[in-house]
Amino acid sequence: MSASTDDTPATSGPSRMNAARLAAILLPVAILLLAVAGWEAVVHLNEIPPYILPAPSQIAATLVKDWPVLFGSLLVTLRITFLALFAAVVGGVLLAILFAQSRWIELSFFPFAVILQVTPIVAIAPLLLIYLEPGTAVLVCAFLVAFFPILSNTALGLASADHNLRDLFDLYGASRFKQLVYLRLPAALPYFLGGLRIGGGLALIGAIVAEIAAGTAGQGSGLAFRIIESGYRLNIPRMFAALFLISVAGILIFLLFTALSHLLLHRWHESARKREA
């Protein structure tokens, strides 16, 4: 059968780089540059000694000079962060799928996940250090903080699949497994990615906090350990350099998951679509 009134998509014009988007990048950069320049000026004009407040130029110099040490520590911190996040993703998603199978399982186990979440990580870390190697303890701490947002977001997403679509799957006799794969997991994807973005940031925080707690044990070699170590030696520029690297790592993790989210959702999900004027 043919349709005489077939609709055809109209072709869209070339996308223009609009001024608003450019401003969104240029404005914060300009403000950052101004702030750094102001800082530099204040330090030089008042002749503040570096052990009280180092100038940005000196922090940059330290970053270059101590790069081998700092970069090694950055890798250690990133490794812990991503290992913890990976474990949190695997654990959180599997547990969320388990919760989605039965209300009873969810009711029985969810409170424990909440307890783990609301107990401050700084309070758990010293305890973990008694039972575990410092490296493992740090990893477990980072895992614990990243786990909950991924679990709760994914569980919410799995439960949010459209009821009519679920009826449709029932109507066509789809097995639970097919419902999971074709309906509930895709429906949960935006929620999961939201959880991943929060979890990614938290895993880094968890890794730093736990390492600070473990720092006195002298076993660490991540960025948090470098900060504590430099503090003992009154090497303030290096403290700032390590802090700078932690911020950069956090920003990169955020950007990475934002990009991943956009890549996976931009064709279909409201959150990632441009609003038409």
Binding site: A3, T5, D7, L171, Y172, A187, W268
Partner: protein, 268 residues
């Protein structure tokens, strides 16, 4: 009119779907249906007509085996339930598309669930989409379509399995009149081709008369059948049917029945 006045050819046959004494009370206490008797006979085109909120969607869902009746019996004759359910095409009142899948993948869904590969389903997908006039939108996402276009994708999906029972909940409500008339004709032609049974919910008296072999008029609070109208005009119908005196007469009759079914505060 009552069931007894049905044409003998229909009444003699086993109904494909039969609701007897069916009541449906939702968990919040809303009584959507009360003592509903309705038989659907093979090959007929049955329209459900009634004011908004009278339980048309609820009744249609029960016919598909979606949701359980609180009272009474829903029976689906001469099929075991598993087999029957695969044989139903259902168009929800909302488009109900998967937002993460393209139009073509949405239409593929019922076949995919039956284990048909995308390559094998391709011809069917293209035919179904061509039927609703959306062949060139196969790669688009539901977000990128208008309300009426989404609804047409939903119709194409229901047709993909060539079902023997087609249950449609106001499928054409969001369409302009020209497209609506065209799809009315397409649906009638398709029904003749597939030889399927259609239950069709509509708000439009004219549409129900043009399309149906039988119109069931329902009233609200509680939802029940108040009258049945046999549309006795011969089946291959075309635009010229709309100009006949019989059509006008049936429209008046259906309209009167609908007015009779409406409480003062009801809305179409």
């Amino acid at each position: 009119m009552t069931l007894a006045s049905l044409s003998p050819t229909l009444a003699d046959r086993e109904p494909v779907v039969s609701l007897s004494g069916v009541g449906k009370t939702f968990s919040n206490g809303t009584v959507a249906l009360e003592n509903l008797d309705l038989d659907v006979f093979p090959g007929e085109f049955l329209s459900l007509l009634g004011p908004s909120g009278c339980g048309k969607s609820t009744a249609l869902r029960l016919m598909a085996g979606l949701g359980r009746a609180t009272r009474g019996e829903v029976s689906i004759a001469r099929h075991d339930p598993g087999e029957h359910r695969g044989d139903i095409g259902f168009v929800f009142q909302e488009p109900t598309l998967m937002p993460w899948a393209t139009v073509a993948d949405n239409v593929w869904l019922p076949l995919r669930l039956k284990g048909v590969s995308r390559a094998k389903a391709d011809a069917v997908i293209r035919d179904s989409l061509a039927l609703v006039g959306l062949a060139s939108f196969a790669g688009a996402y539901p977000r990128e379509l208008s309300g009426g276009m989404k609804m047409r994708v939903s119709i194409a999906r229901a047709l993909a399995t060539k079902p023997s029972i087609l249950l449609m909940d106001e499928p054409f409500a969001a369409l302009d009149e020209i497209t609506r008339f065209k799809l009315n004709d397409d649906l009638l032609r398709l029904k003749a081709e597939l030889g399927c049974t259609v239950v069709f919910v509509t708000h439009s008296v004219y549409e129900s008369v043009y399309m149906s072999s039988r119109i069931v008029v329902m009233a609200a609070r509680p939802g029940r059948v108040v009258s049945t109208i046999d549309v006795d005009a011969p089946m291959p119908r075309s635009e010229s049917f709309r100009a006949t005196p019989r059509y006008a007469e049936l429209c008046r009759e259906a309209s009167a029945a609908l007015h009779g079914a409406m409480a003062p505060d009801d809305h179409l």
